[in-house]
């Protein structure tokens, strides 16, 4: 049976990990390659690198990092952040990234999704959607969730699927950072109305939250950052608990 996936997310700036990562026995907690290798050994199923570099120079450094991760890490990884053209994607895939994740650029120019899936295949096109509820309606937001758009989450997600995305990474801005659980109502609706995999993001705080997002939210994968980076949840413990709840995981 296809296993549910556990995906740590690393924020990268100028080729280095940002936000404190607090692994025991790590000489350099800022080196994304070392961290990625550790996560692969700990049982992570995939990794997501989110590039938050603001400069061209910084983005070049990230490309070098992608190459090093591809050299040394034996699980798949996605790179997102600031990708807006076929050329950007071509460079990342040629450097060894398995998938790319696009967000604001797809909202600004939805045809980009078609172009990327036609050229590189839908299997490597992840569309990230940030949304929060405004007057009871899930509205898509731009620029890391700071700018609201008129787009309805579920309509946009359907369009994204129709245009050829291979997967959706949905972050609830209402839940992100709260450690209060994933947005399982919205996730369940996405997962049952669409026919591509849905990655849940935003709100992970406890092992039970992961159980819930797979059982109630019907998510195909769950992404989290701080609970893994600070060792609050060990992936091994998490997977054992999921298995005890009859959720298929790779152990």
């Amino acid at each position: 049976m296809l296993a549910k996936r556990i995906i740590p997310c690393l924020d990268i700036k100028n080729g280095r990990t940002v936000k404190g990562v607090n692994f025991v026995n790590l000489i350099d907690a800022g080196d994304p390659v070392v961290l990625a290798k550790q996560y692969a050994e700990k049982g992570a199923d995939e990794l997501v690198f989110l590039d938050i570099s603001a400069t061209l120079e910084g983005r070049k450094t990230t490309l070098e990092m992608v190459l090093k991760v591809a050299e040394q890490v034996n699980i798949p990884f996605t790179v997102g952040g600031g990708i807006s053209s076929i050329e950007d994607v071509d460079l990342l895939l040629k450097s060894g990234a398995d998938k790319v994740s696009i967000n604001s650029s797809a909202i600004k120019r939805p045809e980009l999704i078609n172009e990327l899936s036609d050229k590189f295949g839908s299997q490597c096109v992840v569309v990230a959607i940030d949304a929060k509820q405004i007057d009871g309606q899930w509205k898509v937001h731009l620029a890391g969730g700071s700018i609201p758009t008129k787009l309805d989450l579920f309509e946009w997600a359907k369009e994204v699927e129709n245009r050829g995305a291979g997967e959706i990474l949905f972050t609830s801005m209402d839940h992100d950072g709260t450690k209060d659980g994933f947005a399982n109502g919205a996730l369940s609706k996405l997962s049952t109305t669409l026919n591509i995999p849905i990655i849940a993001s935003g709100g992970a705080g406890t092992i039970q939250h992961f159980v819930d997002t797979f059982q109630i939210g019907k998510s195909d994968a769950a992404l989290a950052a701080s609970v893994f980076h600070f060792g609050e949840i060990e992936i091994k413990d998490l997977k054992n608990a999921l298995k005890e709840n009859n959720i298929e995981v790779r152990i």
Partner: protein, 193 residues
């Protein structure tokens, strides 16, 4: 040992090359017929659209060369599917090494299948060192049916061939280069034949 990865512009060849490097091998990436013919082992990767990939193979004459190769060859993902008879993706004729058709997953499951699934009923020394039901990383919308050449099977709505073998030709639907140590075991078995 002289290992060649066929580089025809349809695949994540870099990741396959890196995985070989991690195992202590130094493959060359090429689409040269001479170099491919002279290799001890050939790896035939591929991602993307089947009909696009077949078109590139036809333009370079590799569609004629590949089925005539005598050394061990490993097709990966789309590479494996292209070695089959026909594929529903763009209703394309494959290279016909494996006498089996490639079909699209039904909408009863999410398409593409993306993630880790188990391989079972393992046959041949390609899988030496692995236990039955080992997890492998798969990303695909089309699958090869079960057939005489099946040496591993996987279930996703339907039970299908996740690996095939005929004579010197091997094909795996999963990505050994991205499937942790289990995937590297498969790649290592092939490279050490």
């Amino acid at each position: 040992m002289n290992i060649v990865i066929i580089d025809y512009g349809a695949g994540n060849t870099k990741s396959v090359q890196f995985a070989c490097n991690r195992l202590g091998f130094d493959p060359i990436l090429t689409n040269s017929a001479e170099l491919i013919k002279a290799a001890d082992k050939v790896i035939f990767p591929g991602v993307g659209h089947a009909s696009n990939a077949m078109k590139i193979l036809q333009e370079s004459g590799l569609d004629v060369l590949i089925p005539t190769l005598k050394q061990p060859l490993l097709g990966i993902c789309l590479g494996m599917q292209l070695l089959c008879h026909t594929t529903e993706e763009g209703t394309t004729n494959g290279l016909g090494v494996f006498d089996v058709d490639v079909k699209r997953f039904s909408d009863a499951v999410k398409v593409p299948q993306m993630g880790w699934n188990t391989i079972s009923n393992l046959k041949t020394n390609l899988f030496t060192g692995l236990k039955n039901d080992a997890y492998m990383y798969l990303v695909h919308s089309y699958y090869a049916e079960l057939c005489e050449d099946t040496i591993a099977q996987t279930n996703y709505g339907v039970t299908y061939s996740s690996a095939l073998k005929k004579d010197n030709f091997y094909g795996v639907q999963f990505h050994p280069e991205k499937s942790s140590w289990e995937g590297e075991t498969v790649l290592s078995n092939f490279l050490n034949f």
